[in-house]
């Protein structure tokens, strides 16, 4: 497929009759750009041509037609970049607006030319920026997820934070469903945890980035993000797919928000999980989140109960890391992570990722602090090439964790 910087290329996997594919592709290329073509006067056709979409390719991906005569095919359409403003609203409405409702059709490819991509912010910090903040290099980061937030008052939450921080976590994140401010506002949490961190630092010698859930009315999020940034939040947890990708984009582009953004995948399954509808996970959680400026991307790990197929997970991670105009994101594969998985995680992910655990920390028989310590011991061991079973001889927390969860092979 010949590529041009003048076009955004979208690939759709459709199910249709082979003899319908060309007409369908033509209909998309014209219908979703200039609307009509052949009935324009010649003079007007010339000026409109630069705005008209093109059919880049049509490829059948099935071995043969099904009993009903349909095949699966990939249709790639080039949309002129000049039709777009650099917003996700323009991008999504054009390449998968009406088409999202057009029967069996999934957006499986999206190629954005670099000049257009550069109009999007990408991650402000990325892997390197976050490592510089924590002064932690050459190992994965450890993130601890609050076990419960709703219904706890600020003192209880702060005690819970402290317990996690003492375990050696690099990051601690809010529960994504924590929206109520009845007991503690995000601002109050940042202030209280920052003070708590001053105490835990004396014991652990470590900084912790607290990822506060950025909640509230959408048009107030920017002010709140600036405020939380000024108060010293370690990161902003954003439910990107509940609030909208352009919210991410504009927060990431804002120079007054000097704090990494952590994208949560809540609601995204409604968009990516169906086999023949929606938007592929590597586009949605990989390409678009990086384009929009997520520094950290939480996504369903292939290890736990909420899973993504392993190859899809690899494509997603590759979209977060592949060389390009934007900083590289930190992937945080999530769900079902326990210390016994750490060697496999390192093998699958390298060192630039986040070991993200909730139950795998809080479920430790000796509590969350020991749970964090078991993870740090497992990370040190795996980096040194020491088998976990051996390292457990020198770490009581790890020994108990392995008894509880075992070691994945």
């Amino acid at each position: 497929m010949a590529q041009s910087d003048a076009y955004i290329y979208a690939t759709y996997r459709v199910v249709d009759k082979p003899n319908q594919l060309q007409a369908r592709a033509d209909g998309i290329a014209i219908g979703l750009t200039v609307g009509s073509w052949t009935d324009l006067p010649q003079s007007k056709q010339d000026s409109v041509r630069q705005h008209c979409g093109i059919v880049a390719s049509i490829e059948e991906v099935d071995a043969g037609a099904r009993p009903d005569g349909t095949v699966t095919a990939d249709i790639t359409i080039g949309y002129p970049v000049i039709n777009f403003t650099p917003t996700f609203a323009a991008l999504l409405t054009t390449v998968f607006g009406k088409l999202s409702m057009d029967g069996l059709i999934k957006l499986v490819g999206l190629q954005i030319p670099e000049p257009f991509a550069r109009a999007f912010p990408g991650p402000k910090f990325g892997v390197n920026g976050i490592r510089d903040r924590l002064k932690v290099y050459n190992r994965p980061l450890l993130m601890s997820i609050f076990k419960s937030c709703i219904g706890n008052n600020l003192d209880e939450l702060t005690a819970h934070f402290t317990e996690q921080a003492l375990g050696g976590a690099d990051l601690i994140k809010d529960d994504e469903i924590f929206f109520t401010e009845a007991y503690a506002t995000p601002e109050a949490r940042v202030e209280a945890y920052t003070k708590a961190m001053e105490r835990t630092r004396r014991e652990t010698g470590k900084d912790v980035l607290y990822a506060v859930n950025l909640t509230g009315p959408v048009f107030e999020l920017r002010d709140r993000a600036r405020r939380l940034s000024d108060l010293g939040a370690g990161a902003l947890l954003l439910n990107v797919f509940a609030y909208g990708l352009d919210v991410l984009r504009e927060l990431a582009a804002d120079p007054d928000i000097q704090v990494p953004i952590m994208a949560h995948p809540a609601v995204s399954g409604a968009l990516y999980a169906a086999p023949q509808h929606g938007i592929a996970a590597d586009i949605l959680l990989g390409q678009l989140l990086r384009l929009g400026g997520a520094d950290i991307v939480i996504y369903p790990s292939p290890y736990g109960s909420v899973t993504l197929e392993r190859t899809v997970g690899q494509q997603l991670v590759s979209a977060l890391r592949t060389p390009g105009p934007h900083n590289v994101c930190l992937p945080a594969p999530s769900a079902g992570i326990h210390p016994g998985l750490v060697p496999i995680l390192l093998q699958d992910m390298g060192v630039d990722f986040i070991v993200n655990a909730g139950g795998g920390i809080h479920g430790h028989p000796d509590g969350a602090t020991a749970g964090g310590q078991a993870f740090t011991a497992a990370i040190d061991a795996a980096l040194a090439g020491v088998p976990l079973a051996e390292a457990a001889n020198h770490s009581e927390p790890l020994r108990k964790a392995l008894l509880r969860w075992g070691e994945a092979k």
Copy 2:
């Protein structure tokens, strides 16, 4: 299922083993509210109880188990209202955040208690408010969709607007993919079309509401909406699912925006169209759009190529109209609408809906003005109980339209 105003009830259609259903339901009720339960001290359990979700019901909807032992079942969970702030971000993140990624699961029911619903704006105008603006009662409204926008300059666009207005349309809407401002900003379009309308009104005696595509950076939309409202826009076309449902909600709640909002379903198919994933169309395009304050809801008609199943369409329309705390929306079934469908549309929809046509107007052999006239003749005939074939004797535009598209039976 016992209902309480203290809970939001969400129903999930899942596929699972029968003996897993209770544990799964319990896991949702607790995991997506207070996070954990049994390991809390008794004193704390009491204070946390009010925040804990409940399993309202589990019903198998299959006749029997499949060969792999799974069944289809509806699980209904009650989430305490006090866990939420009245935003779509809180609602969606909680009831279908993580769960959206949890295998075969579709959100098929959502019951929002009236006190919580009242914290959402609902339509500011609704059917009655829009009728009052147009002073048109007791008949469906006619909306004409710009055939092409991209690549046209303001003079060309204005000529196109005029052509449509002369056909007798009540509303004229932008193409939803019209984002570029290279040739004309939304503000310039509103100003130019408002002047054009002063001229067409002399000829037709009719007002026209111009639905301008509300585009731009998300944090600037409110200011732009206020500006377009002040300039006299007839309606704001909003790509709700590209920008986010909370954008709709906050625009609808803004007292400085005195103009109806028209919700476009672009991108929504990625959320509703899959059989076993995502969010049911009647919730997404019906219930949530009304809650968020869409005055007009465009949705895929069951008549055209981009279709919704007929029963789903009926549920959707019923969600827009059912008695409740909010104004009633105007449904605009779209795609594939031509004059020959008008009697069926009236039969299916009553009079409170919008006849929304693009190709069915512009594809008229005598052009868009005749195309609009054919529709108004068809609407008048259908209301009077006159067969279209008979009415065509008195309307040359309708006669030619019926030759072109036929009459649907």
